[in-house]
């Protein structure tokens, strides 16, 4: 008796859960698939390795999630990450890591503040502003470095490498930074008034304004958070390789957006969560690694990656509407 009574309820609950977390289901399916194809895929070393190399993309995606939820775009994060990396590496040898890191954060976040000012207060289209900043910041980086690769001269004699290469309790530091930041930003987005404002501004900007939300300031803060995350990603990148080309972040803006959209955030704003972005980032990372481990011809990998992304998005939508196919959207 009790069984028949609880089953439909728990089934419904499970159904609701699936509807909300379709992307998580897709993620699990891919993981199982890759694990069956290669027995080393789920080795602790490999899993940690993939998460660690996803952290740079991941940290950037955390910040851009705020921008996307607020209804804007940020295409400048790739070249901004190159900027942060080059600046912190260059300053490291000039003024030491203790001063180089905060100074780099100030410089990178001023760029974020500039974008935030243009998009938030001057109400310029974020696509135009950040697309322009994409090449402007690239130019800034090249001007700063003179086009040269920047390398830390004494790679052994500095604690700077810990941030990208060290580990604590058996977990690589970049992962700890990524998870810590994800937790912090998730709390900010879901438990704090600021987070509600971000959703409100992205969902319906006009209604938000009439509700007394200072829209410009909210947008400005989103870009500031985004540039903070970019600076953190640049720091991890710099510490990981201890030297860099000027183009290290090139093209990452699109990967970041892919991860966020894969996570289910809407480019129209108003929806998305930090957790889903993290899943989106992990899916991209594990696809890349899984295909490498299977040893697929690399030209084919581009195509397969696309197919998997489409599959994931489809599974997510199908879970939301409770069926695989629907005649009415």
């Amino acid at each position: 008796m009790a069984d028949t009574a609880t089953n439909p309820v728990s089934l419904k609950r499970a159904g609701n859960f699936l509807a909300r977390q379709g992307i998580l289901v897709a993620f699990v399916i891919f993981m199982v698939g890759f694990a069956l194809a290669n027995d080393r895929f789920l080795d602790m070393d490999n899993v940690l390795g993939v998460i660690r190399s996803s952290t740079i993309l991941g940290v950037m995606a955390l910040g851009v999630t705020f921008v996307v939820i607020s209804g804007n775009l940020d295409l400048s994060v790739g070249s901004m990450m190159s900027f942060a990396t080059i600046v912190v590496l260059d300053l490291h040898d000039k003024i030491g890591p203790e001063l180089a890191i905060p100074l780099m954060f100030v410089m990178t976040m001023s760029l974020g503040a500039l974008i935030g000012f243009l998009v938030g207060y001057l109400k310029l289209n974020s696509l135009i502003v950040t697309l322009g900043m994409l090449s402007a910041i690239h130019g800034l980086t090249l001007t700063y470095s003179g086009g040269k690769n920047i390398d830390i001269a004494d790679k052994e004699g500095t604690w700077f490498s810990i941030l990208g290469q060290g580990s604590a309790l058996g977990i690589p530091i970049p992962i700890l930074i990524f998870l810590g930041l994800a937790a912090l930003l998730s709390i900010l987005l879901t438990k704090m008034p600021f987070g509600r404002k971000v959703y409100a501004v992205g969902g319906n900007g006009t209604a938000a304004t009439f509700s007394g939300i200072r829209r410009a300031r909210t947008v400005f803060c989103c870009y500031l958070i985004s540039s903070f995350c970019v600076a953190t990603a640049g720091l991890i990148q710099a510490s990981r390789s201890m030297g860099s080309q000027n183009t290290v972040g090139q093209g990452m803006e699109l990967e970041v957006l892919a991860a966020i959209i894969l996570g289910g955030a809407s480019l129209m704003g108003g929806s998305g969560t930090v957790f889903k972005t993290v899943i989106g980032v992990l899916i991209l990372g594990f696809i890349q690694n899984g295909l490498l481990l299977i040893g697929l011809e690399f030209y084919v990998q581009y195509i397969v990656t696309w197919i998997i992304i489409i599959l994931a998005v489809w599974l997510d939508i199908a879970a939301k509407r409770g069926r695989l196919w629907s005649p009415i959207a």
Partner: protein
Amino acid sequence: MKLYKALAITAAGSLFIGVAQAETYKIGITQNNVGVDSYQTTYEQAFIEAAEANPDVEVVVMDAGGDVARQIQQMEDLIQQNVDAIIIWPTNGQAVIPAVRKAAQEDIPVIVTNSNIAEEGFDFVASFSGPDNITQGRRSAEIMCEKFTEMGIEDEAQIVQITGQPGYTTAIERAQGFEERLPEVCPEVTLMETQPGDWNREKSQTVMEAFLVKYDDIDGVYAGDDNMGVGALNAARAAGRDGIIFVGATNFAVGYEAMERGEYWGSIYQSPVDDAEAALQTAIDVLNGEDVPFLNYFDTPKITQDNMDEFSKPVF
């Protein structure tokens, strides 16, 4: 776009070098993407210095910023200016051919530098000046084989390859040379897998991490350039896998330093200064009516831990 053009014109205007003299050759150059990496930056400096040192040439220096359309525009500008010869570092081996043909039709000899254009365009080119990437790949295979023989593992060694960006001539030719030569000198060495590192240190590190998970026994890594080679080295170091022989190409400062530390075995020494000087010299030789070979390669010698003191550390 307009701004870029204005900049290019001002830059070109300010870079007229040399004295106006009846016998001087006016040579124009349109480069691929100065400033995007240290090689190209050093190349441009060396080219300008070589031109300044030569009283018989006057150069117009332009840079396409990686943009094909801009490079074609620059070719047309140079034709308009009626230069005596044009040197082009193609942004794209295919798309620049019509512009190269136009110059050839105006009887302006075109010298291609660093990376060649596609074969259909060869009829319109006076000479190609640059490194021989196939030979570079072959030499890297020899370096690796010699080291394995010295270690006594030439019968069993297993290696992986990390190539440059898929579709790039340099990447394809180096891999081709390497894959051709390796079985000739070391028939027992197995090349287990090849994946691209896109000329990118971080990408190469990620690829190498996957290789390390996948293969318990890796004796050697061939990377299409030192930047990627060092990325692979970083991955091996982080995983605590010692004793892997790393061989690259285009010796970068980071590769040279890793060789000094004894962690990286060898590479191919390719100097942007030699590259730039060879291009200018080829143009002058063509204008002097000398017999210049169509493929005018400059030498790119092997560099290993054994002979590295004969070479100065690369500036890029």
